[in-house]
């Protein structure tokens, strides 16, 4: 084999393993799932043996009140988690944006929750939420306050709190990185002009951070739809369906009710939803950017 030929082939050789693996273990399964979602499919059958039922699984789900509830719970969970985490994370970053000693130490402490397994996070919080032996109710007891039924009446809230605990540092660290890479000159200029701290934040810092914040928000949003283990360990989706997010319902449909076809259809609905959200957010940012550019252009014409 000549050297030239090796050189010509080498890009393909570098790419090949990754392409093969992604094709076998990611693309093919996704296609397989779409195919399976049109079938009445039990775990003991191979897909060929399963009966083709057309859109039946999709229609059943569309009319299934439990699926609706689970969808609502998922959207609520994602909305509250992302918005609260964004507010707290960005707020803290703005508050703590100055040079201090021990900042790297602080960051280390803050990324700890993110690194720990969701299963472990779930069990830590399950202990803390425990109605009698848990940390929270014990503290309330010793303060003479009434106990709270964390995982009963307020299950969704409790689950959201646990997620906020784990992931707010992510947003904090990203926003802090974005803040510290802002052009110092713009901030200097504002300070000289006598802008108050609030004005600086609203008119300079936040708009300049926007691109990073949008990506961060998008990443968190995507991850919020992936949460499963924490909720599984904390509440197993209960009480009722009050914390049964879609990911959990898919896994229950597949393993507990043993309806792979329905689970596959549900997975497709979830994928569609995520796709819509991502595309929607991209479109929104493009539109925002375009609008900002137009306004800037107008402002320049005026002056």
């Amino acid at each position: 084999m000549s050297i030239a030929r090796v050189n010509r082939l080498s890009p393909y050789m570098f790419m090949a393993p990754a392409v093969v693996i992604m094709a076998i273990a990611l693309i093919y399964p996704l296609g397989y799932m779409i195919w399976g979602s049109f079938r009445d499919w039990a775990p003991s059958q191979t897909i060929g043996e399963a009966e083709f039922v057309g859109l039946k699984n999709y229609i059943t789900l569309w009319n299934d009140p439990n699926f609706h509830e689970s969808l609502t719970v998922t959207l609520k969970f994602a909305f509250f988690v992302v918005s609260i985490e964004m507010v707290i994370g960005v707020g803290l970053a703005l508050l703590l944006d100055r040079d201090i000693r021990g900042m790297s130490m602080l960051r280390t402490m803050l990324i700890l929750p993110m690194m720990i397994a969701p299963v472990v996070v779930g069990l830590m919080w399950r202990y803390m939420y425990h109605p009698t032996v848990g940390t929270f109710n014990r503290t309330l007891d010793s303060l003479g306050l009434p106990r709270v039924d964390w995982l009963g009446d307020h299950a969704l809230m409790s689950v959201i709190i646990a997620d906020i605990w784990q992931w707010t540092p992510f947003i904090f660290i990203l926003s802090l990185a974005a803040l510290q890479s802002l052009p110092r000159s713009a901030l200097e200029a504002a300070r000289i002009d006598g802008a108050t701290a609030w004005q600086q934040i609203i008119y300079i810092k936040l708009p300049l951070m926007m691109p990073v914040l949008i990506v961060t928000c998008l990443l968190r949003l995507i991850d919020a739809f992936k949460v499963l283990e924490v909720i599984l360990v904390l509440t197993e989706g209960g009480p009722g369906l009050s914390t049964e997010i879609l990911a959990l319902r898919i896994s229950r449909t597949a393993t507990e009710f043993r309806e792979l076809g329905v689970a596959a259809a549900m997975s497709n609905y979830l994928l569609l939803l995520l796709m819509l959200l991502t595309v929607g957010m991209f479109a929104f940012t493009r539109w925002q950017e375009a609008r900002a550019a137009r306004i800037r252009a107008l402002a320049e014409e005026d002056s």
């Binding site: 109605p131 009698t132 009963g152 197993e236 393993t255 507990e256 043993r258």
Partner: protein
Amino acid sequence: MLKSLRDISVAGVAATLLAGTALANPYAEYEGTTVIVNFPAHPHYDAVMRVLPEFTKETGIEVEVDQLPYLKMRERQTLELAQEEGEYDLISYVVFSKADYVFADQLENLAKFFMNPKLADPSYDADDLIDGYVQNIGVAGGTKGYLPGPTGSLFGIPFGSETSVLAYRKDIFEKHGIAEPETYAQLLDAACKIPELEPGMGGMASRAASGHQASHAFLLHLAPLGGRVFDDKWNPIINNAAGVEAANALKTIVDCGPEGAMSFGPSEAANAFANGDAAMFMDSIAFMPGFENPDRSKVVGKVGYAMHPEGVRRGSQTGGFGIAIPKNAENKEAAFLLMQWLTSKKGDLMVAMEGGNPSRFSTYQDAGLNEKYPFSATFGEALKYADPDWRPIIPVWGKINADIGTTMSKVLTEDLDIQQALDGVAERTRAVMDEAGYYTWQ
């Protein structure tokens, strides 16, 4: 020196003797075989784990146990049993899995083992097995497919089977002059009186967590209150007056129960009782030995045991586990020997002494057991009223069970109207039954 020489010769003689009698030892052929079993994480099977080394010592058959929580165990088995060749030689199954597995032709009919003179132990005494359990857990194919009847045959042997009894705090009940509840009215009355009399203590600890647990708790009250899930023609009647009453009873119990009762699974409920947070606990007998164990219980010696209270009839649950041999097992004969050994008079008593649930009448009559666990007599009595039809064990039950469980949990937490909720269950159940073909013959 001399002594060791003698030892060696004795050993040698023993070895020759053993070799000579090898044909007479039914286990010899399987010596060294490893039987892989799938057991649930459950007090009864924890007791079994303590007894298993004895089996290996006696027979030379090794046992490897895969212990899983019982709902996980069911998922695992669904997958394993569907394979052409499975991993497990012996499985323990939850009673409601009986329908699925037998329907899918995944369990061995036990007749051929009991017919085989090389395997079947003539002193097994099957008459001594508690008949209600055998019918409910082991036999499939009779009346309605899951009840006893002439067309049924044996697929499993009850092992770790349970019925329900009421555990209550004798000290608290005496202190306030409350009588041992014998009827549902008394039970519900006591359940709500106690939180008033004993601030900080709940009335009764019960399962209530969403899904299987809430459904179990509801059905537990449904049978004694005169209800059923289906009538004789498979029409759902879960939404009749008895159904509403049972749901009301469950709601009352949970409302007057200890802190956090809505998310209790059985272990949380049992822990609450053991910790002194509730005055009553009505569930499987499997939990009761734990209350007399000072390591985990603060109420040792203060607990009274009574029969499941009477509604319009007596009807305690029948549930728990049976053991069976999968069709796709590798060492079926050795698995049968283990099964037979565990459920023999000797094995059953050994397991019971370690805190397991007996499956034999003779075990309940054993003096040693009654001395160690004073409540054994009550349990024996409760068995007479065990109701094999408190829960329909049909192949589509899993789906209906999940629906009842979710709906009940909503009733408990979201104040759904009970009649409306049960009407919804009945309607969805009818659709499921229709699709499964239960109305074909009407």
